[in-house]
């Protein structure tokens, strides 16, 4: 293989498609995942607004969705993808299954961040007459912020890894290039290059998340 302008343009497009898929999916996954995570923690039997039966059903659905392998889910939700994205091919078509697969994951990550919030602080807010909504908005979310940011770095990098699988359905992005050129055409160099770019992207996202978390955390003197 040669490194002509076409190859470089292809890699550039791959990077763009990967970032587009990852961040768009992450955005929607958080849009769904944060409320789900809040419900999981708030409606727990020891939560601030206990509705244990609903919480348990939701937990079950989340676990079910999380146990389906992404590659299977990708195919299973194709009819839904067609309705939402209008196509079952390309980067756009990968977003609906990515969101469906990662929202439950995000919900669990968000839940665990909320679990770290000191129960005593929540009790203090209750003793001041705070409502459940006030506790969510003024205690849970701000107090969990540093942990939520660490969780976001974890979630986004996981979604990035999922997106690389989309090459299987012609989804575009770096994963697609790695499969088409690196695997099917035995272009090992191409495979290494795409993987190296993915490694760099993961590093940058991870480091940025950790740094944002540290900067926002007032517990550090």
């Amino acid at each position: 293989m040669t490194f002509d302008a076409a190859t470089i343009a292809m890699l550039k497009l791959g990077v763009w498609e990967t970032l587009f898929m990852t961040f768009t999916s992450s955005f929607f996954a958080y849009l769904i995942g944060i409320p789900l995570g809040i419900i999981l923690i708030v409606m727990d039997k020891d939560g601030i607004y206990p509705v244990p039966w609903l919480q348990r059903i939701l937990g079950l659905i989340i676990n079910l969705l999380r146990s389906v392998p992404f590659i299977i889910l990708l195919i299973m939700v194709m009819p839904i993808t067609k309705i939402i994205a209008g196509t079952t091919l390309g980067a756009k078509a990968v977003i609906p299954p990515l969101v469906i697969a990662s929202a439950p994951y995000v919900a669990r990550v968000v839940e665990s961040s909320f679990k770290e919030v000191d129960a005593g602080v929540i009790e203090a807010a209750k003793s001041m007459g705070a409502s459940a909504m006030q506790i969510i908005l003024k205690v849970l979310l701000p107090e969990a912020k540093p942990s939520l940011l660490v969780g976001a770095a974890l979630s986004v990098t996981t979604i990035l890894a999922y997106s690389a699988m989309s090459g299987f359905v012609g989804g575009g992005g770096l994963g697609d290039i790695a499969i088409k050129y690196g695997y099917y055409r035995y272009q090992t160099v191409m495979m290494f290059i795409t993987v190296a770019i993915l490694v760099i992207i993961v590093q940058v996202i991870q480091e940025a998340g950790m740094k944002l978390s540290r900067m926002s955390d007032k517990r550090i003197k």
Partner: protein, 340 residues
Amino acid sequence: MQSEEPIIQLVGLGKEFFTSNGPIKALDDINLSIERGEIFGIIGLSGAGKSTLVRCINYLEVPTSGDVLFENQSLAAMSSRKQRLARQSMGMIFQQFNLLAQRNVLQNVCFPLEIANVPKKEAVKRAMELLELVGLKERAKAYPSQLSGGQKQRVAIARALATNPKILLCDEATSALDPNTTKSILGLLKEINKNMGVTVVVITHEMSVIEAICDRVAIIDQSHIAEVGCVADIFSEPKSKIGRQLILGDAAEQAMRFGGNRRIRISFDGRSSFEPVLSNMILACKVPVNIMHAETRDIGGTAMGQMVIQLPEEEIDQNRVLNYLKTAKINFEEVKDYDL
């Protein structure tokens, strides 16, 4: 103050927790009245139910039986919205301070005012006044992680007072602090009680905290109230076994280690501690006694003392000593049944 209705009344209060090992009674038939303007102590060993009791007062724990009356209003009968409003009239501070770690000192004190929908400008003004009161005005922009334990508790006190509560509940507020800091926090609580007229309820396992600031005390043991009364009265004449244990404290255990003869505990109030009670007794009875433990304590500003002495071996001598103490009207009792 006696004529007014109590600020808090607990009526037949009970709390059961349902665990996987069956129900556990944390509180059983608790009846208490807390008067307006007093500093009321609730003391008990760990696991006695005192933390549950204080949480029942502001309904953080919902009792399984009985009722809480706050200014003659039944908390049980209130809607949850009304209960939340009532809680704004009851401040609370905690052993672990429970400050919001991601908010600075000023924002922490403003927090209950935000919840009560007080306009921001007004809230900041009120918060600064309170920070001045607790002596932390210069640390307004600091975060809790930058403060010492005592400073954190001062912020928590300012925060608990922000909404002008009528009563301040203190759950082991000094248990995580060193003796000097404890003293200054207790001083602050006393000052708040005196100057602002806030009724203070102190939950503790330390008799010294009760002695330092409380007017009255309830001793709680195994989910029940063992006795209630003025701190000085309970000190000189504890009626319950747990009361005696708490008052003698570690000294009792030490005194018990010496076996042998009958022992008695003599307690003195400010009046009798001026007289050399023991010397007089020895001179009058002409018998030697062994002092096993002696101390004086400051209870609500009055010096009170207690002493454990071992009686002589002969029964005649013992009776002579006991008769002397009786006629001299000295408070005493035998310590044989402490079985610690």
